[in-house]
């Protein structure tokens, strides 16, 4: 059973605010979804313990070669606030 407190806690971890008036609806929706997710625990299949990834990929190491990267000014163009080549978050009081 998902409670309002669970939602408040998960929202905090997710860096989301859930407005007081949305809290009951979100709790109900999440409770339904978690009950639906819970059906895996009644599955007859035990599953594959060692399952890792679908194409059996393993780390492939390579030489650490320097290649051209992106231009700093180009990257900063997408930011809301920048200064002297940095992303800025200004202190507001």
């Amino acid at each position: 059973m998902v409670t309002r407190e669970d939602i408040i806690n998960i929202a905090r971890l997710s860096k989301l605010y859930i407005a007081e008036e949305e809290l009951d609806d979100m709790t109900k929706a999440m409770d339904d979804i978690v009950k639906f997710a819970d059906t895996i625990n009644s599955a007859a299949e035990k599953g594959v313990e060692e399952f890792d990834n679908i194409n059996n990929l393993r780390n492939a190491f390579r030489e650490d070669t320097v290649v051209p990267s992106y231009d700093r000014d180009e990257i900063l163009k997408n930011a809301n606030d920048t200064g002297e080549g940095h992303f800025l978050v200004r202190k507001r009081v």
Partner: protein, 488 residues
Amino acid sequence: MAEGIIKRLGKMLDEKEISCTELTEKYLSAIESSNGDLNAYVKVTSDEALTAAKAVDEKIASGESRGALAGIPMTLKDNISTKGIETTCCSKILEGYKPIYNATVWNKLSGEGAVLLGKTNMDEFAMGSSCETSYFGGAANPHDITCVAGGSSGGVASAVGGNIAPYGLGSDTGGSIRQPASFCGIVGLKPTYGAVSRYGLIAYASSFDQIGPLTTTVEDAAIVYDAISDYDPMDSTSRGNCGKNVLSSLKNDIKGMKIGVADEYFDGVPDDICQSVENAVKVYESLGAEIVRFKLPALKSALPVYYILACAEASSNLGRYDGIRYGYRTANYNDINEMVCKTRSEGFGAEVKRRILLGTYVLSAGYYDAYYKKAQNLRGSIVNAFADAFKDCDVILAPTVPNTAFKKGSAISDPIQTYLTDICTVPVNIAGLPGISIPCGFDGSGMPIGMQLIGDKFCEDKILNAAWVYENTMCGEVFKPSSYGVSL
């Protein structure tokens, strides 16, 4: 034989019946008159398209030979990065974001002279099955604009089905190419995981996402797949296409091909859809294929496995939207934590928030083993069940969706009901397999029904050939052009 639009347009360009600029203008003008109804495009890139078209015209004039996709207009889903062109995932949080690099698929296609008409509508961050979670409102179905186009690649499907793009690229995490293709009566190919580079595809669930084509014919899907599938060192999960050219594998012969039909795919599917797929089974039998009926009990847990794992990956992937480096930032805040929380709360829509919360829940201490780990283990069972199935058959035939396109606004309020409609598409993504949806009939209201052919890993050639043979036999009966857009 179903003649593909890419070859047909290419022939018109080669025989100088039309210039690439004229062709592009024709599509841009069709977009202008039809997009008000369809809402397929969220951004039309007229200037870029005409510049690219002019370059192709100049090459043709100078006698240079033209590649298959050169000069052919097309569209990209709005989660595929295009340098300098706004790419928003149809989310407020990416409003104004202009990538500084191209996705590998767009580098490949633009390198071949493809002409980008614009970016198309989608469910916000590809989370949805109706395109209605889009910040820009949903795309309409060209066969009945009171119905949804499907999702999440609803805009591409609406544009291609509505003849305002000859083809487009979408992405498929749990059915987002195949389901809207089915709803709009077109072809949608979800390639094997790793066959097409994900570099520059804005991530939803990285171990499920794949880019693929939406087209009006199987031949077109093969041409586009050949152009975009390749190994890419920029994508650490890239495998390439095993050196296969799938266009050359389209042969009008499926004698002896073993087509598997699993009971579980038909559970709860309405009679008219089951009947259309069973009719296709008969067509294949009459063409000399062998039908293998079998059971896939592992599929029973596919939906919860998919939603647990995809949301877990999404909650991690979407952690990057903090208002600092790109996109939307809230106007008023006191400290950095408040800025990040308000930015995310104002920037994400309700469905995205639900999936982030579910993902965070299943990854949090105390729940990780019961949900995430268990789902990951069951993913292994589903992978193995398909591997066993492909020992006895070449392809699996199934419905694409257990319903046809529904009325706008009728599903969005109940998330679980919406999730349940993904039952036939998610197993392919869980197992990393290729799947193609092609039209196979109409429901009582005349809306398209799609069927799905699923192959073993990197066996796109087999599913495309099986789809092509069916299309050649049945195209007059199962394909109906919509009344919108460019008629050729």
